[in-house]
């Protein structure tokens, strides 16, 4: 009973809380990093160096009036932020934070569910998250969100194709769909997959930026063009949910990239014996560190690059990334057979 129900439930509870805290602190991280890039200080007032800013933000958003526009589709309008938040959270279920660890004399794997279709599961959840944006665009009964909703759905669908193709080449290399299995495959291969599949990594990263609607692909919420895009009409907690979903998605993409290409919980050069002292750092810390680096790069890119235009974005997706992903898949298939 304890094994089948209690432990997973505990894991889910801990993970959910950790993710939500991480997400709120992502907002602070983003503000701070962008501020540093722009030679500013960022939030400084709430707590030392602004570390309590997320709490203030959360309070503010919760206390704000929650407005539903007149003639909006109320049911869908309320549903949309939830639909965008939930897939982002459930995707964490298959992400392995560490190998089996022993806790209180108890063998515990730091993954909620090591399902044998883990990778596909992640793709499936992201494919659901597009609904949040489309529905928000539709339900607001306003033209800018509608445009943004159409943009978002087109963008997500086209980039999903490239990313999924690329994931197939990872599966070819690893020989498994399980996330834990992929990390172990990297241990067996004596190499992180980023060195074996560099093209796939680049595609995943670009596709990840596009799928999380981050700069330079943040067209659905392009403030300067669509006045905030799909969440133009949202306020208060419902707006906050969209916001949190975006950051949760960023963490998911970073964690997936870490797992697939940077050896998850493995230390750098996992099979080089002279570096064994690196094992003093627990695996989950390696994992978090790698994920953090990705998040930092996400923010860094946002602070640096201008925004793509809609047609250019679609062109990049269909005419560059998808052919590249297919070519990569073919080449990895051939190499797999030959080697």
């Amino acid at each position: 009973m304890v094994e089948t129900y209690l432990v997973p439930l505990l894991k889910i509870a801990v993970l959910l809380n950790a993710v939500l805290v991480a997400v709120t602190y992502m907002v602070l991280l983003e503000r701070k990093v962008i501020a540093w890039v722009q030679v500013r200080l960022g939030p400084m007032r709430v707590g030392p160096y602004g570390v309590l800013q997320p709490i203030a933000d959360a309070l503010k958003l919760m206390l704000k009036e929650d407005i539903t526009p007149a003639r909006a589709d109320r049911f869908v309008f309320t549903l949309a932020p939830i639909v965008s938040m939930v897939p982002a959270l459930i995707a964490f279920a298959v992400i392995p934070f560490d190998d089996e660890v022993t806790l209180f004399g108890y063998k515990l794997s730091l993954v909620v569910a090591d399902v044998n279709v883990g990778l596909l599961y992640v793709v499936a959840t992201t494919s659901i998250s597009v609904y949040g944006i489309i529905l928000a665009g539709y339900a607001s009964n306003s033209k800018f969100p509608l445009l943004a909703g159409l943009r978002a759905s087109a963008q997500l669908i086209s980039y999903e194709v490239a990313v999924t193709m690329m994931l197939v080449s990872i599966v070819v290399t690893a020989g498994t769909l399980s996330m834990v299995g992929i990390v172990k495959a990297q241990l067996d291969a004596h190499l992180w997959f980023v060195f074996i599949q560099p093209v796939a990594f680049v595609i995943l990263f670009i596709g990840g930026l596009a799928e999380t609607n981050r700069a330079p692909f943040d067209l659905p919420e392009a403030e300067q063009e669509l006045t905030g895009g799909f969440h133009t009409e949202y306020s208060g907690m419902r707006f906050a949910l969209f916001f949190l979903a975006e950051y949760a998605n960023m963490i998911v993409v970073s964690a997936v990239a870490t797992t697939l290409f940077f050896g998850g919980w493995l230390r750098p050069f996992p099979n080089v014996a002279p570096l064994a002292f690196l094992d003093l750092v627990p695996g989950w810390i390696w994992f978090l560190m790698k994920t953090f680096v990705f998040l930092y790069i996400f923010i860094w890119i946002r602070a640096t690059l201008p925004r793509y235009r809609y047609d250019q974005l679609m062109r990049l997706g269909w005419k560059v990334l998808i052919p590249l992903a297919i070519a990569n898949l073919v080449v990895s298939g051939i190499l797999k057979v030959l080697l």
């Binding site: 445009l147 300067q224 669509l226 201008p306 235009r309």
Partner: protein
Amino acid sequence: MFDTNELVINMGPQHPSTHGVLRVVLRLDGERVIEAKVVIGYLHRGIEKLCEHRDWGQIVLITDRMDYVAAASNNLGYCETVEKLMSLEVPPRAQYIRTILAELQRIASHCLWLGTHAMDIGAMTVFLYAFRERELILDLFEEYCGARLTYNAMRIGGLPLDIPPRWDAKVRAFCDILDTKVDEYEELLTHNRIWLERTRGVGVIGAAEAIAIGLSGPALRGSAVPRDIRKDEPYAAYADFAFDVPIGDAGDTYDRYLVRIEEFRQSTRIIRQALDGLPEGPILGKVPRLIKPPAGETYHAIESPKGELGYFIVSDGKSNVPYRFRVRPPSFCNLQALPRLVKGHLVADVVALIGSIDIVLGEVDR
């Protein structure tokens, strides 16, 4: 046939990228603009009529409120027009300081343009970088005249104030800073692939058409027309300085961007020359106590940061207010090109193009 795709959206007057209260009614096919209608007048304050009820000296202060990001240029244009009407002689020191102020103002205005233009295209860091440099100029102006936005910095016949001690050294220091910072802006944008894709070939307008529409300033020079009033009909002290007039070749957004970036450098070049050759002497010419220009009319234009800023003033020679006061605002005339420029482009280009022609609504609506 029934068309499912046409959509009319109302961009502005409350929209983050219309630089104030511009309203553009866009007819879209998907995201492609079929037609754009520009609706102006949300900031109309009747400045021209107001000026016909203020005496000549008071008008300087009102001109501040037109292009409020380039108040000194407005002052300069107005004062020179009245001086032309009255055939007043302005002492050389005043001319030089006016030139310095006008060029600082050009840099400040271009900083604001660069920041907002880059922000419209999504590069938010450039916005803060550019505003940081604009802040330095505002500090310089504050030290000169005490105001940071609406300076009221000139008088008919000269200047109200001489430059404060060691101000020139600060201006020089600023020019050195700016030259390095402009390189920094260029590093972020000029060769950035996304920036190139977003600006190249967007809103192309040929030289002949640009002239026909009545574009002026950097927007015109971007279309390879080397027209710069500072060069062609020198005013203030511009005749004394060597500077280049940068022009583009394709007439697209990218060229207009490059022209303005180069103007940063030319402006510091002019300022340095003016500081080197700053003559001693009075700062106010022989101006009568009561300013009452003789009956007549005149038109005088200067090169404001945004283009040809012209004043047409009629004096009846009797009253102490202008009989007719009319401004040719560069923003207004350049804005005419917008519907033509955005046609066939996407919504995202509309904001890029609004930024690219660099308008200030205070000047458009007056």
